[in-house]
């Protein structure tokens, strides 16, 4: 390559090298590349939902419901706005960290710890979904429906159920996958193969589920 390019920071040169090398580009195992590409596609699903949410919310002529009141939690006589959702957020984002620990221990071939942290991640995910079930039940009892609700713009319900429902479905699937992989790890399936790639893959998926919530929480609940 020419001189000025050689002096550039390595990243651009390595990018060119990746694409020009006349062999596989991503230089990761095929299943990891496929997981990334799947997540890329999935991100467009959520991106479309968020975009639809933006469009319908700003087009609503009735006032948007006050999420602080709608999602308030009774604690002793007081109403604390959004408390349940804040707890859910902490749980889910923390489970991103526990999953990363599982991946790190997997890379170190530490069978016991990898299994333990994967299992713990599954548990946190399950708690998140259960709290979400509580939240949905409360809202439905109070009269929220996809087409109407007692607090204001009817578009609120459709967006709420679609966004959190789709995300909750991803979490549920994630909990299933995590449980299976925790079980297989503890049985030594990956230790025998000397390969913990499956833990890494489910880690990617879980990171994505986390990432979606990172945007849902502020845009839907706090905004």
């Amino acid at each position: 390559m020419e001189q000025p390019q050689q002096e550039r920071s390595g990243s651009l040169r390595r990018l060119v090298a990746d694409w020009a090398s006349d062999r596989e580009t991503f230089r990761v195992r095929w299943s990891k590349a496929m997981m990334w590409i799947f997540l890329l596609g999935d991100s467009f699903v959520f991106g479309s939902f968020l975009s639809a949410y933006a469009a319908t919310r700003i087009a609503a002529t009735a006032p948007w419901p006050n999420t602080g009141e709608v999602f308030a939690l009774h604690v002793g006589g007081a109403e604390i706005p959004l408390l349940l959702v804040a707890i859910m957020t902490l749980i889910l984002l923390s489970s991103g960290a526990t999953m990363t620990l599982a991946v790190i221990y997997g890379l170190r071939h530490d069978q016991k710890r990898a299994a333990m942290w994967t299992g713990l991640t599954a548990l946190l995910g399950a708690i998140f979904v259960s709290l979400q079930a509580v939240e949905w039940t409360n809202l439905i009892r109070e009269g929220a429906r996809p087409w109407t609700n007692p607090w204001g713009a009817p578009q609120f319900g459709a967006n709420f159920f679609m966004l959190t429902g789709f995300h909750g479905m991803h979490v549920t699937i994630g909990v299933l996958l995590l449980s299976i992989i925790a079980l297989r790890t503890s049985r030594g399936v990956y230790e025998q193969k000397r390969d913990y790639l499956s833990v890494e893959l489910v880690g990617l998926y879980w990171g994505f589920v986390d990432l979606v919530w990172v945007f849902l929480f502020p845009f839907f609940y706090l905004f």
Binding site: F26, S48, T61, L82, A97, T100, G207, L211
Partner: protein, 223 residues
């Protein structure tokens, strides 16, 4: 391969990122609780925190950092484009809102009651009471014009004497109104059937809003 192993994050880094993300969640929740004004500033803070959290979880939890640039550049730019999709959604929704407002103005001569989304819901109790009365179906039995539908009209109700079944008379004050909503069977208005369902699910604040609305319908009581 060896070089890649090096770039995976250490347990110490993972724990630090975890702590940082928890702090960010707490920060955004506090900003929400304090309802920091003006609204746009609050929203800018939420967006900044979300972007920071997203970058953290992609680089550290999903460990994109450890991947070759060929993969990084195949993933990051398309996902970032989703932001543009949301902005398209916003401008589309804004246009629709304008059309709706024009339509309402042309057909009724009135502008849309409230700009959407200014405060995330109305704070005016009278307005809120009107919405509640609509959404709970009160207005299918009670008119606000003096006309009798199924139940007595709310026009001029507040502060006026009510003749009850059994011959007694009470003044329609706040306590009477509240009782009539929560437990309508207790005092039946003379020559009306006892068909109103009890509304036990309304909370104090909602009751106050409805009562404020009923008050606003009589000349003496509006305040």
């Amino acid at each position: 391969m060896n070089k890649q192993e090096h770039k995976h994050i250490s347990i110490g880094t993972c724990l630090k990122v975890w702590g940082f993300i928890v702090a960010l969640v707490a920060l955004s929740y506090v900003v929400f609780l304090l309802q920091i004004e003006p609204l746009w500033l609050r929203r800018v803070i939420f967006i900044a925190i979300a972007l920071l959290q997203a970058v953290l979880s992609v680089t550290y939890f999903m460990q994109l950092r450890a991947e070759r640039p060929g993969l990084v550049y195949a993933i990051v730019p398309p996902v970032s484009l989703l932001l543009a999709l949301v902005i398209f959604g916003l401008s589309e929704g804004d246009y629709v809102w304008g059309v709706r407002q024009t339509h309402q103005w042309l057909t009724t001569g009135k502008p849309v009651i409230e700009e959407p989304d200014k405060n995330g819901g109305t704070t005016n109790p009278i307005e809120k009471g009107m919405q509640l009365a609509q959404s709970n179906g009160c207005l299918s039995c009670h008119s606000v014009t003096g006309e009798k539908i199924v139940g007595p009209s709310w026009k001029g109700l507040y502060g006026s004497p009510q003749e009850l079944e059994g011959g007694t008379t009470v003044t329609a004050d706040e306590a009477y109104l509240k009782e009539s909503i929560v437990n309508p069977g207790a005092k039946i208005v003379k020559s009306f059937p006892n068909v109103m369902p009890p509304y036990k699910t309304l909370n104090e604040e909602q009751l106050d809003a409805i009562i404020a609305y009923i008050k606003s319908l009589s000349s003496g009581g509006s305040k």
